[in-house]
Symmetry: C2
Subunit: 407 residues, 2 copies
């Protein structure tokens, strides 16, 4: 029975309310001090002390000027400090890269989009991201406490490698996290950024799910399933009890190869009728008999198609076919995961908009024991879910222990 020396200190169990309190303000669930008191389930005295400490850390402002209320003494408002610290959120797309600064509360600065560099090897792409991010950090007057990057491919945990970065043909097990950390470390971040700047890398669908759960269409859902379709296949993500379920290696929710049509189109995986090839932009265009320009913007073309479904019979039929396939996949996932909310993003969001009744009805029909009849299927509410989610990832350590911002 070998075990570590002896007296090892735990990361102080104390100060346990500070993290939950900041998270409540961060997610907008504690707009006033009395709401914080109730949500934490502590006495007013304790909540006051906690709020004061968050204010002392420069994260929160306690506004004496009240907000119109019902009866009794109005409670002080709790707002996130406008000049509080920020984090860098970055996202890599198939056709570009985006960076933005983000404060607490899911607030995102204006995203800045850059084209991909000429060379698309891992180091060049990630280096370009770091450069664009550093520019943003230097130009801002607020303190930058971390950076996170959303990637359009799986990210293996805890190594932070990309086992199958198909978009750019990166080699297997590309050390994305290490590359990003090194690239950020090599940048000039100006005088106000934390050195070394903590960095993190994760899959974009996972981050979008986290973002929707905290700030979007998944608020107050216990188990949130997000499904999205973009340029390259279908992505899924699951939030369980408020925390991302990324699986034991970070590879969970690879939902693209659920069978939704046994006689369907062949998939590179060897099977037929995978969700990936039946509900992606190319599938929708093919179902409508449209020539899918291989060099063009398939996603944009497919989105446009969903918008013409109300007047174009061929488009409508195509939407219905793909929606039915998608419903089968969602029902299968619901049978396994039993979420209490499903959020659709990317092309799937547009499909839901084009068939707002047919899709939920089909999901309910295919799920067992009506386990979906109470499950709302919602459209994603965030325009930049990946970026907001990256911000959440970067904020993570500070939400767990707000004292960290003082380090």
């Amino acid at each position: 029975m070998p075990h570590t020396p002896t007296t090892r200190r735990a990361p102080d169990r104390g100060r346990s309310l500070l993290g939950p309190a900041l998270e409540l303000v961060h997610t907008g669930r504690a707009p006033t001090r009395s709401a914080l008191t109730a949500a934490l389930g502590v006495t007013r005295a304790t909540a006051g002390a906690v709020a004061g400490e968050l204010a002392a850390l420069g994260l929160v402002t306690v506004d004496q000027h009240p907000i119109g209320s019902s009866r009794g003494r109005p409670s002080h408002r709790l707002d996130l400090a406008p000049d509080g610290p920020v984090v860098l959120a970055a996202q890599l797309h198939a056709d570009g890269l985006t960076v933005a600064l983000a404060g607490l509360g899911g607030s995102l600065g204006e995203p800045v989009r850059h084209p991909l560099p000429a060379r698309t090897d891992p180091a060049s792409v990630i280096g370009a991201i770091a450069e664009a991010g550093a520019e943003l950090i230097r130009a801002d007057h607020r303190r930058c406490l971390g950076a996170a990057l959303a990637l359009p491919n799986p990210v293996r945990e805890p190594e932070g490698t990309a086992p199958a970065a198909l978009t750019f043909g990166w080699p297997g097990d590309t050390p994305a996290a290490a590359l990003f950390a090194a690239a950020m470390a090599a940048q000039d971040l100006g005088p106000r950024a934390r050195r070394p700047l903590p960095t993190a890398v994760a899959n974009d669908a996972n981050l979008a799910a986290l973002a929707e759960h905290r700030h979007g269409a998944g608020r107050d859902a216990r188990h949130l399933l997000l499904v999205t379709s973009g340029h390259r296949g279908v992505g899924g993500a699951l939030v369980v009890d408020g925390r991302l379920h990324t699986g034991s290696a970070g590879l969970a929710l690879e939902v693209g190869h659920l069978t939704v049509d046994p006689l369907g189109r062949p998939c590179p995986c060897g099977n037929r009728g995978c969700l990936n090839v039946e509900t992606d932009p190319a599938a929708l265009l093919a179902a409508a008999g449209r020539p899918s320009d291989p060099t063009g913007q398939l996603l944009d073309q497919a989105r446009e198609l969903t918008r013409t479904a109300d007047r174009d019979p061929a488009a409508r039929a195509a939407v219905h076919q793909v929606v039915d396939r998608l419903a089968l996949g969602l029902a299968g996932l619901a049978n396994i995961l039993n979420p209490d909310r499903i959020v659709l993003a990317g092309l799937h969001r547009d499909l839901l908009a084009a068939a707002p009744d047919r899709l939920p009805e089909a999901v309910i029909r295919h799920s067992l024991w009506g386990r979906c009849d109470q499950v709302p299927i919602a459209a994603s509410a965030l325009a930049h879910g990946g970026l907001v989610g990256a911000a959440e990832l970067a904020w993570g350590p500070y939400l767990a222990d707000p004292q960290g911002v003082a380090g």
Copy 2:
């Protein structure tokens, strides 16, 4: 912004080490006081106090007589008190009911099996279970602190109803939890049982997964997927970070309708080739061309078949076919859930024993990016997983707050 009164007390944050400490002893991870110190990450003084408190509660004995060790002063042994309290574990099968008393540590008394009562309506069956359980409780000299029942059908949370108890043709939404609570309350439990006796009801596959995670083949797995096949279809369960994922309504992991053969046998759900109908006892017997006696013990016949696979070519071919289907289903689940261990029970356990290489290889072949090549597929290690799991469920509140045993 309506919220509850004001000064509401949280369930004391203090005494936070008592629960984790008992859980460590309970799962065998802290056989000595110094192991407890290390596992809790606290000082020796604190661990000593905690151990003393557990001893004072009558749950643990601190044995001064040491166990042979390496160097230095030998640490005191921590054992579960032999005459400590017990809970009642009960399980309903398709062809009978089983009850047993269980102490901490996953120890199970001799299970007592009873036939089903003549009438199989919910109240009669659950009443018979309660009666058999009460007999056990009265006859034992230890204090009984709770009771839990494993049912072979889904259990909706938090209502505790059975939406589809196909086995006995119970009506939908049978209030199983309420019936069990009432049935136990109506029993004479002798002088030592807690009154009222806390009761709980859950699905047997879920409980078996919990049991395997704590005391069986799933120990020190982070995310454990259990798949089993019994008399009635395929059951699945998932343990995430040590806690059961039962979904938002308790209906998660209904894996029986994953498609594993697009051209396979028809399933009552309307599709073809569901895991349910392709990997259950009847499917195995059919694949071997055996007449499946509909009134007989399909499960036992199928199990026997797997044992003849090494000398009977027809049996081997049947096993291989079903194993391949099962592997497809497991790979699909692994793609979604990314567990770090898979445990097979019921008939699937026998299939693994009959094809110990073919099954893992096929799972790896069908999973993406080799996410399964490090995932052990193990046979269930507990003969009575459902009962052990029911005991875990009944112990749950006391593991969370050992002070509760003094109530």
